[in-house]
Symmetry: C2
Subunit: 200 residues, 2 copies
């Protein structure tokens, strides 16, 4: 059985949200599953010296326009959240906890969290809101809420983020296929060909 | 007659080089011409606080890999230049001068300069090298060389770069269709649809 495609994403990333709508189907076409790996762009920014797109002069205005246009182009619902960007520890920890305790719920909950933020404008940085969303999509609501403050979960998530950075993951979405890194949903065509051919 | 598609590019930009291979054909499919507008990423970086891709931790290693892989993906010849990035005033001024004095030579010379740098590893930052390339592709070699040090040409190029920045151009390639901005050759599909439909 081939290794899963690694899908790194930050819950605060609009392009991560767009990629999240398509990554499973893309992998499935090649008989692959996807390992959804929440990360923290803020930690990566400290290493790269970068900043959130919308905080960069010139690039900020363009990016806000491009988020919405790219969503329309791909036929994906999108509304720019009132609060942006957000710290994404709460949803990241809930998904980390689900992967360890109830893996079948992890991807549906991750998709629901993204949708809550980028379609319904809910502030998933709030642990109670994030737990509500998880509870409505197959997770135990109280346990999900508790996971956000659980030292073991916090450690596991932080370790996972650090490991991703150590392997060169610096953006969202960031996809790794058999060791080959692809940054951005604009690399989906390349990911598709790589999965089909094993390299080019 | 519809307005030309504005194609902003830095001669030191690998993605600009890749885009340069396809932009004319893309525009032509929609009955449009292309206005090739050399720019200076270094000037944009000062406004955005950004840096050359290859100078950014983590992102640098990825980018070098992605340049070559993207070229293979698109079937375009590419060799990472020994000196990178380069200041691109010399080729930028030559193309600015050609647009004003011998417009039919501007695009062929721009393409030849890109190829000299990204395929033949010639240092087109050197005014003599840049003039050699221009001379071999339809321009007057001595006049091209002189244009690099011509105060009027220098002013015109600098003004053109400043105007682009004032209109929000911060990267390479950066394409503008009827006022709509698109950054990156990964937006070619969106440019294509925009040209076909007038917006989406």
């Amino acid at each position: 059985m081939a290794d899963p495609v690694l899908f790194h994403f930050d819950f605060s990333s609009p392009y991560g949200y767009l990629a999240a709508q398509r990554i499973d189907a893309l992998a499935a076409r090649h008989g692959r599953t996807v390992d959804w790996r929440p990360m923290l762009l803020g930690v990566a920014f400290r290493q790269t010296g970068m900043a959130p797109l919308t905080a960069i002069p010139l690039k900020g205005d363009y990016s806000t326009r491009d988020f919405a246009r790219s969503a329309r182009f791909h036929g994906v619902d999108f509304r720019m959240p009132s609060r942006f960007p957000i710290p994404s520890q709460a949803p990241g920890r809930i998904v980390t906890w689900l992967k360890a305790t109830e893996p079948s719920a992890a991807i549906p909950v991750a998709k629901a969290l993204y949708r809550a933020y980028f379609v319904d404008d809910r502030d998933i940085a709030d642990p109670d809101v994030a737990a509500d969303v998880a509870g409505a999509h197959g997770a135990d609501r109280a346990a999900a809420r508790a996971s956000v403050d659980d030292a073991t979960v916090k450690d596991a998530f932080r370790r996972s983020v650090d490991e991703a950075l150590a392997r060169g993951v610096f953006g969202s979405p960031f996809i790794v296929v058999d060791g080959e890194p692809f940054w951005g949903m604009d690399r989906f065509e390349q990911v598709d060909r790589w999965l089909a051919t094993g390299g080019f």
